[in-house]
Amino acid sequence: MTEWFAHQKALFFLNLIDDDRWRYLADGLVLTLEITFFALILGLTIGIIIAIIRATHDNTYDTMAPGFGKIVLKVLNIISKVYLTVIRGTPVVVQLLIMYYIIFATSNNKLIVAVLAFGINSGAYVAEIVRSGIMSIDKGQMEAGRSLGFNYVQTMTGIIIPQAFKNVLPALANEFITLLKETAVSGYIALQDLTKGAYIIIGRTYSAFMPLIAIALVYLVLVMFFTWLVGRLERRLRSSDH
């Protein structure tokens, strides 16, 4: 038994302490959080815009008077649908590789490539979540906003979206957590994120147990922390209703 402990201790020192190897994980964690954060912002932005286009099309297209606006809406809706189909129909790793090797073949900024790939990917899922939220809001809310003199966009952003957002916050939180975990494939384009950090250590020490368990724990703690944070936010939002 004591022998086993001694062995584990030696492995721990070998993998994490010697040569400051823990730094691979610390730096990797920072990069993972950076990619996740910026991809989240990008995903939310894309998602909300696509959701508004899709919901506007579904709610108003049939009753719209013919004209330039109607054609624009139709085109935007088709583009949105193609985007959703392609992004949700292909693996995120493939999208990341296409972004890196084909679209940004001449650029060296891997962080931006990763943020774009993960953000564009996440945007598709956010879009469908937010759209379902918009559709769940009573149409009287839009009418009340419009009757006061707000234009369509003002009513959407000031009245509909905030309520829709609140309704779909749990689903958005799930999407955020999925995004955080999906960034683990960033190593495919040689970015040294958390997972790649563990991989590098394994390459040096030829022992896999400690680095892998360490990053699994870090991911788990992150996810639990964000879940707790969202739960608190949700309770605060809900209490403002009553």
């Binding site: 008077a65 006061l148 003199g149 209703d241 009553h242």
Partner: protein, 252 residues
């Protein structure tokens, strides 16, 4: 065409208004002509499905007419070149289902439009909101959320929200139909008060008592047409239209 709609007494003029919903075989509105003067309280009655809501909602273009013209303060609403959002600021609307914004406090519900649309500064809008909730007897509710209000209170706040923009006309679509009977009075009282102050109002309602008491004119609609239009006295005491008589015999 514009000059003849600049009679300063006429607030809203409707000519040949038609509405044909795409997915429907009946014509919701089938040639409506009406003039609403400043200070008028026009009550619209008629059986369910006769086009009362559609008519009212066409007045502020929540429903886009398929034919005819509407002028508001001399400007044609149905002319796409005119800014409908600007015109709606002067036309308050009250819905059967209140449609308060649940994520905003009563105060924010009332001040949101005047502030965001640049009609009032924040201080001024707040003062106006306080004065208005006082007038409808709900001063202690100003910093609560809509979900904590009763139906009658919600509707009074919805009226206040529309009034905060200082509209020139108020449109009501069955404002008391969703209320428990004991709450109808408190909402009608607010509306009567408004009428007495000279607000121009178009009210779709089944409350015949309200029509008799404050209406300057009553309109009877059926099948998307106006079948009768008169002062409440003539209208209720001497109905000369057969359909109207039969309708009144059911509701009175």
């Amino acid at each position: 065409m514009t000059t003849e709609h600049n009679d300063s007494n006429v607030l809203i003029e409707v000519q040949g208004l038609e509405k044909h919903f795409k997915n429907s075989t009946v014509r919701a509105l089938n040639g409506i002509d009406v003039k609403i003067n400043k200070g008028d309280v026009v009550v619209v009655i008629g059986p369910s499905g006769s086009g009362k809501s559609t008519f009212l909602r066409c007045l502020n273009l929540l429903e886009v007419p398929t034919g005819g013209h509407i002028w508001f303060e001399g400007q044609e609403i149905t002319d796409k070149k005119n800014d409908i959002n600007k015109m709606r600021q002067k036309m308050g609307m009250v819905f059967q289902s209140f449609n308060l914004f649940p994520h905003k406090s009563v105060r924010q519900n009332i001040t949101m439009a005047p502030i965001k649309l640049g009609v009032m500064k924040k201080d001024e809008a707040n003062r106006r909101a306080e004065e208005l909730v006082e007038r409808v007897g709900l001063p202690d509710k100003i910093d609560t959320y809509p979900n904590s209000l009763s139906g009658g209170q919600k509707q009074r706040i919805a009226i206040v929200r529309a009034l905060a923009m200082n509209p020139d006309v108020m449109l009501f679509d069955e404002p008391t139909s969703a209320l428990d009977p004991e709450m109808i009075g408190e909402v009608l009282d607010v509306m009567k008060e408004l009428a007495k102050e000279g607000m121009t109002m178009v009210v779709v309602t089944h409350e015949m008592g309200f029509a008799k008491e404050v209406a300057t004119r009553v309109i009877f609609m059926e099948d998307g047409k106006i079948l009768a239009e008169d002062t409440p006295e003539e209208f209720f005491d001497n109905p000369d239209n057969e359909r109207l008589r039969s309708f009144l015999s059911k509701v009175l």
